[in-house]
C-alpha cells in the first residue's frame, strides 16, 4: 500500500528489551508528513519506550529506523544495530521535537532562555536571531509576557506550553508528545490541548501518546492501540471509537478510562 508522499519516519521491526522484559516487540510504523498519530494503551505497554526510540533516547536491540528517506542512527555489526556517534545522532534529534510528561524545563534559565537554548547552542545561531525565533514561539503558545521569569514561577500548563515552544524553536519536522497533559491539573489540560491543536492546524507532523480519548478522537488521523509492546489495533479514530466492539481488550480499556 503506498501513500502519495514518502514517509517522514519509518520504523521497521523495532524491538527493545530491558533486562529480559520486552518493552517494544517488533513494531513497524510509517509516519507521513503532516500526519497526526495518536498512540494509546494501558500502562507498561511500551508507548513511551517506542516514542523514545524515535529520537534515540532508547537504544534499540533489533530493527531499523529511517528519517526523511534515509536509514539513520545505527550501524550494523554482525546483523545487530549499534548506535552511531553523536555527530550522526544529534543532527537527527535536532529535527525532532520532544515534549515530556514532566516538562523538564531548564530551571536555571528564564522562559526566554529555555526557548533560545536550542537555536543558540545546537544551531549556533546569533543571540539576536535566536531571540527573535524564541519570542515568535512564545507568542505562538501565548506566553510572551512570561519571557523573563524563571520556570519555577509558572503553572503546570504554562510550563508545558513553554516546553512546546522550546521544541518548536528548533523548527522540527516531527514532534513527539509523551503524555503531555498527564501531569496537569484537569483545569490546565485545555490550554495545552489548544496549543497542540494549533500546531496540528499548521500541518505539523506529530506522534502523541495520551490517555485522553476526546483529544485522540478530535486530533488523530490514525489511532494505534498498543499492548505488550505490540500494535494491537491500528485504525482511523472514527472506526476506532465506534467499532470498539471488535476487540475485548480495547473495550475494557476504554471503559475503564470513562
Amino acid at each position: 500500500m503506498s501513500t502519495a508522499s514518502a514517509p517522514l519516519l519509518r520504523l521497521e521491526q523495532i524491538t527493545k528489551q530491558f533486562k529480559g522484559v520486552t518493552a517494544v516487540d517488533g513494531v513497524s510504523l510509517d509516519v507521513h508528513p503532516g500526519e497526526k498519530l495518536v498512540i494509546i494503551g494501558p500502562s507498561g505497554s511500551g508507548k513511551s519506550t517506542l516514542l523514545r526510540t524515535i529520537n534515540f533516547l532508547e537504544v534499540i536491540d533489533e530493527g531499523r529506523i529511517w528519517f526523511e528517506g534515509r536509514e539513520t542512527g545505527y550501524v550494523r555489526r554482525h546483523g545487530k544495530p549499534h548506535l552511531e556517534r553523536q555527530n550522526v545522532i544529534c543532527p537527527v534529534r535536532a529535527e525532532i521535537g520532544m515534549v515530556f510528561q514532566h516538562f523538564h524545563l531548564f530551571p536555571h534559565l528564564t522562559v526566554l532562555g529555555n526557548v533560545m537554548e536550542g537555536p543558540l547552542t545546537v544551531q549556533k545561531k546569533g543571540k539576536d536571531e535566536a531571540r527573535e525565533t524564541a519570542l515568535a514561539m512564545l507568542a505562538k503558545v501565548g506566553l510572551s509576557e512570561k519571557k523573563d521569569v524563571y520556570p519555577a514561577t509558572l503553572s503546570g500548563g504554562q510550563k508545558q506550553r513553554v516546553a512546546i515552544a522550546r521544541a518548536l524553536a528548533m523548527r522540527p519536522k516531527l514532534m513527539l508528545f509523551d503524555e503531555p497533559t498527564s501531569a496537569l491539573d484537569p483545569e490546565l489540560v485545555g490550554e495545552v490541548f489548544d496549543t497542540i491543536h494549533g500546531l496540528a492546524d499548521e500541518g505539523m507532523t506529530m506522534v502523541i501518546v495520551t490517555h485522553h480519548m476526546g483529544f485522540a478522537r478530535e486530533l488523530a488521523d490514525r489511532v494505534i492501540f498498543m499492548e505488550g509492546g505490540r500494535f494491537v489495533v491500528e485504525s482511523t479514530p472514527a472506526e476506532f471509537f465506534s467499532e470498539r466492539l471488535g476487540n475485548e481488550r480495547i473495550r475494557s480499556f476504554l471503559n475503564r478510562l470513562i
Binding site: 529520537n55 533516547l57 553523536q86 544529534c90 543532527p91 534529534r93 535536532a94 529535527e95 525532532i96 521535537g97 520532544m98 515530556f100 514532566h102 523538564h104 524545563l105 531548564f106 530551571p107 536555571h108 534559565l109 528564564t110 537554548e117 536550542g118 547552542t121 545546537v122 524563571y150 519555577a152 514561577t153 516546553a163 522550546r166 521544541a167 528548533m170
Partner: protein
C-alpha cells in the same frame, strides 16, 4: 723527700688560710640574709631592705654572687611594695657591674611593662608582631586563592572522568580520589617536598604546597561535584539531548550550571577547612601565617603572637563565609519566587 713534704704542707696551710678568710666573709653575708628574711617574714620590709643594702659590693671587697642576690632581693621587695623606680634602681645597680646579667635584664623589662597600662603593652606587642604576621598572612591568602581557583577545575575534571563511560579514565579518577582522600594531607606534603627529591624531582616549597594542596582539594571537590552532577534530575539530560545537544553541550550548558547552588554549601565547607589546612605547609619550609606566629612565639615567648594569628585566621574564615553566602544566594536566584 723532706723538701717535697714541706712544700705540700706549705701549700695546704695557704689553702686553709684562704678558705677560712672566705668563709668568714660568707658567714657575714649569710647573717645579713638571715636577718633580712626574718624582717621580711615579720612584715618589716623597709628594715629588710636596709639590712640587705649592707651586703657589700664587689668593689668594696664583697662577694659577687651575694651582692647580686641581695640587690635583686631588694628589687623584688620594692617591686612588691609598688615602688617601681626604686626596684628598677636596685636592678640597675646590678647591671652597672654585670651588664649581661639576665635576671636583672628580665626584671628591668618586666618593671617597664608593669609601669605601663596593659593595653599599651598589648599595642606594643601588636606593633612588634603584626608586620611579620601580615607577611605570613599574605602568603596564606595567596595559597588559599590559588587553591580556590585550581581545585574546582581539578575537581570538575576528576568528577567528569569518574562518571565517563570510558573505563580507564573512570578508574584513573577513582584512584586519584582514593589515594588523596585516603592519606593524611601532611603525609602528602612531606612526600612531595621531602620524598620526591629522592626520585630526582626537587620542588620549591611554594610549588610543592600548591601541588599537594591542589591535588588533595581537587580529590575532595571531585567527589562533591560528582555527587552534585548525579543529583540533577535525569530528565534534564534527556531534554537537552532531545534538543540535539551533544553530551558536552548538555553538561556545559544545562547540567553543570544547575549544580552551582547545590555545590556552594559543601564547597564553602571545604574552603573554610582549606584556610586552616594551609597551616600544614609550615612543615615544608613555607613561611605563612602559622609559621610566622610560631617564629614570633619562639623568639619572644609571648602568647600575644598566637592570639593575633588566631584573630587573622578568624578574620579570613568570617570574610570567606560571608562571600560564599553571597555567591550561594546568587547561584540559586532562579529558585526564588
Amino acid at each position: 723527700m723532706k723538701r717535697i713534704c714541706s712544700r705540700v704542707l706549705t701549700a695546704l696551710l695557704f689553702l686553709w688560710i684562704t678558705a677560712a678568710s672566705l668563709l668568714a666573709a660568707q658567714v657575714d653575708s649569710e647573717e645579713l640574709f638571715r636577718q633580712a628574711n626574718e624582717l621580711q617574714g615579720g612584715g618589716d620590709l623597709a628594715a629588710a631592705v636596709q639590712v640587705l643594702g649592707r651586703v657589700p659590693s664587689p668593689s668594696a671587697g664583697g662577694d659577687e654572687e651575694d651582692f647580686v642576690r641581695s640587690r635583686m632581693q631588694i628589687a623584688r621587695i620594692k617591686f612588691s611594695m609598688g615602688e617601681f623606680d626604686q626596684a628598677e634602681g636596685a636592678a640597675q645597680e646590678v647591671l652597672r657591674l654585670f651588664p649581661a646579667n639576665s635576671e636583672a635584664l628580665n626584671f628591668v623589662a618586666s618593671v617597664k611593662t608593669e609601669k605601663k597600662p596593659r593595653y599599651v603593652t598589648f599595642l606594643d606587642d601588636c606593633r612588634r608582631f603584626l608586620p611579620h604576621l601580615f607577611k605570613g598572612a599574605g602568603m596564606t591568602l595567596l595559597l588559599m586563592v590559588c587553591i580556590m581557583a585550581i581545585s574546582p577545575l581539578g575537581g570538575l575534571l576528576i568528577a567528569l572522568g569518574r562518571i565517563s563511560h570510558f573505563p580507564p579514565l573512570s578508574a584513573c579518577c577513582w584512584f586519584i580520589i582514593w589515594l588523596f582522600r585516603g592519606t593524611p594531607l601532611l603525609l602528602q606534603l612531606f612526600f612531595i617536598y621531602y620524598g620526591l627529591p629522592s626520585l630526582g624531582i626537587t620542588l620549591r616549597p611554594f610549588t610543592a604546597a600548591i601541588i599537594g594542596l591542589g591535588l588533595n582539594y581537587s580529590a575532595y571537590l571531585g567527589e562533591i561535584i560528582r555527587g552534585a552532577i548525579l543529583s540533577i534530575d535525569h530528565g534534564q539530560m534527556e531534554a537537552a539531548k532531545a534538543l540535539g545537544m551533544t553530551y558536552g553541550q548538555a553538561m556545559r550548558r544545562i547540567i553543570i550550571p544547575q549544580t552551582y547552588k547545590r555545590l556552594m554549601p559543601p564547597v564553602a565547607n571545604e574552603f573554610i577547612a582549606l584556610i586552616k589546612d594551609t597551616a600544614l605547609v609550615s612543615t615544608i619550609a613555607m613561611v605563612e601565617l602559622m609559621r610566622a606566629a610560631d617564629q614570633m612565639f619562639n623568639t619572644y615567648f609571648n602568647v600575644t603572637a598566637l592570639i593575633l594569628a588566631a584573630v587573622i585566621y578568624l578574620a579570613f574564615t568570617t570574610l570567606f563565609t560571608f562571600i560564599f553566602e553571597k555567591i550561594e544566594y546568587r547561584a540559586g536566584i532562579y529558585e526564588h519566587r
